[in-house]
């Protein structure tokens, strides 16, 4: 995208019928670190890559619990994401107080989208620079939505946003047809594998990713690092085998899963940086 004379104001249309400021806001989402979401009939899993400014600092919080039955993962300007999460939490708590019932996620998503739209039609505002993956339950089951800075929202079986999300999307596209009937644990495993795709070579460990789950009978919560590392360990050993030698790789992977001894010997031989 290049600069042009129609991109200064969010309230200026281009001759081609585009609002460039809104499109630039969507670019901000693409710059953020990756977040993914996938759902089955009864559960939704959110995952994100934790980016820290430096080794000295802690990483930014990108997954927020909105209510027992709704959670959100963000990508883009995390400050904007925090503000929107606060709005969502407020809406949920007010609804719960008045109706003693959880706010259906579909309605929250529409309210969020309408809020984002307002910022695309006021000259004294700017669009929110954050994309939100909203995971939640309502009467009709588990849902995953993506809310754009443009004020649009879409429902997804699985989706990924942020930098290098295309790799995750490709992974999810190959397998999404199985997700509806997936078990909760398989769904979590798929989420972690999708995150791994966005890392592109970097070793996957629980300190650089965050996973959260919500489901029927399971309130929204973020999985603790230990649990995530355990799941990673179940398939990472296999992955390390595929690294050193592509030819032997497949055999070793089969062996590695079955015989621990074979695995440990190879680890000593292969000069894998971790």
């Amino acid at each position: 995208m290049f600069r042009n004379q129609y991109d200064t104001d969010v309230t200026t249309w281009s001759p081609a019928g585009r609002l460039f400021q809104v499109e630039y806001a969507m670019e901000a989402v693409k710059q953020g670190s990756a977040a993914i979401g996938l759902r089955s009939k009864t559960h939704v899993v959110l995952g994100c890559v934790n980016k820290a400014n430096s080794e000295l600092s802690s990483h930014q919080k990108k997954i927020f619990k909105v209510d027992d039955h709704i959670g959100v993962a963000i990508a883009g300007l995390t400050a904007d994401g925090r503000v929107l999460s606060r709005y969502m939490r407020n809406e949920c708590i007010n609804y719960s107080f008045t109706y003693e019932s959880p706010l259906p996620v579909g309605r929250l998503v529409v309210q969020l989208a309408d809020k984002a739209q307002v910022c695309t039609q006021r000259s004294w505002k700017r669009p929110y620079g954050v994309g939100l993956l909203v995971a939640g339950l309502d009467e009709s089951g588990a849902h995953l939505y993506y809310n754009c800075p443009s004020g649009n929202y879409f429902e997804y079986q699985a989706f990924a946003i942020g930098s290098r999300s295309q790799a995750a999307k490709t992974y999810l596209e190959r397998r999404f047809e199985n997700f509806t009937d997936s078990s909760r644990d398989d769904l979590v495993k798929d989420a972690i594998m999708a995150i791994r795709e966005t890392l592109q070579g970097e070793t996957l460990k629980s300190s650089i990713c965050t996973i959260a789950v919500v489901g029927v009978g399971e309130p929204f919560h973020i999985l603790d690092q230990g649990t995530v590392q355990q799941i990673i360990d179940t398939f990472e050993i296999v992955a390390e085998q595929e690294g050193p030698d592509a030819a032997i790789g497949q055999e070793a992977a089969a062996e590695g899963a079955a015989a621990d001894q074979g695995g440990s010997t190879d680890e000593g031989v292969a000069p894998m940086e971790s």
């Binding site: 107080f97 008045t98 109706y99 003693e100 019932s101 259906p104 579909g106 309605r107 009709s140």
Partner: protein
């Protein structure tokens, strides 16, 4: 009934609102509503009387209405306030339907909304002078609750308002059980309504029974109960009475 009026002076925190804008006492009132859970849903009974003080002035007042697809509301107390509540609920259901998204407000949600409404009005010293009964069934789950004009609310297997609490609830406590058939439920309600007819001076002998099930709400045509006045004790009521003079 003026002892009910607030003692606040005109220039109190209430600002320029004049006392005439606040409910001080009810004018046209309905008497008891009785309701119970049965096998397929909720049964509710109320007579069709609107009393103007001690005069039984209006005899065709429907005090039970369907709310949305899943709920049934019965009210005793000020009829005009009941009509106001129906307007609020109309708006509520309308906006709920406008979402057009497969979600709908069930009886629990409506009951809690009414609780908030009644309690907030009570806090402003301007109550809606009603005792409400809210029953319904959604996705197989039966719900029956009540809210008073001061916001007291609770759920139970059988509820009543006004005199019904004193005359009908004891009968229900003895004779109600889970999974009553429709006929048994109606018979039980009629037993309660008959006692109320004998003993509540604001009751009239013209009642309706409404039922709400998963299929929807139906309300009977108005009908009257058979009564028996030939008890010998009624012939000379003061005969055995103990008096102080």
């Amino acid at each position: 009934m003026n002892f009910m009026a607030s003692k606040q002076p005109e220039n109190s925190l209430l600002g320029p609102e004049a006392d005439s804008q606040r409910t001080l006492y009810p004018n046209v009132t309905g008497t008891s509503v009785v309701a119970l859970k049965y096998k397929d849903g909720i049964l509710m009974a109320a007579d069709m009387g609107g009393s103007y003080g001690s005069t039984l002035r209006y005899k065709n007042v429907e005090r039970m209405k369907a709310i949305g697809k899943h709920s049934l509301l019965g009210a005793s107390g000020e009829i005009s306030d009941f009509q106001e509540i129906l307007r609020y609920l109309d708006d509520l259901i309308l906006y709920d339907n406008m979402w057009d998204d497969g979600n709908s407000l069930g009886p629990k949600e409506v009951h809690n909304y009414l609780t908030r409404l009644m309690y907030n009005r009570r806090n402003k010293f301007n109550p809606l002078w009603n005792s409400l009964v809210l029953g319904g069934i959604k996705n197989g789950e039966k719900y029956l609750g009540t809210v008073s004009m001061i916001g007291v609310n609770f759920e139970d297997d059988h509820v009543a308002t006004g005199f019904g609490n004193h005359l009908a609830r004891p009968i229900l406590r003895q004779e109600w059980h889970e999974n009553l058939s429709f006929e048994d439920g109606v018979r039980l309600l009629e037993k309660c309504m008959r006692v109320l007819l004998y003993r509540d001076r604001s009751a009239i002998n013209k009642l309706q029974i409404a039922k709400i099930t998963e299929e929807g709400m139906t309300i009977s045509q108005p009908y009257s109960l058979k009564t028996y006045w030939e008890f010998s004790a009624f012939e000379n009521p003061t005969q055995g009475a103990v008096g102080s003079w």
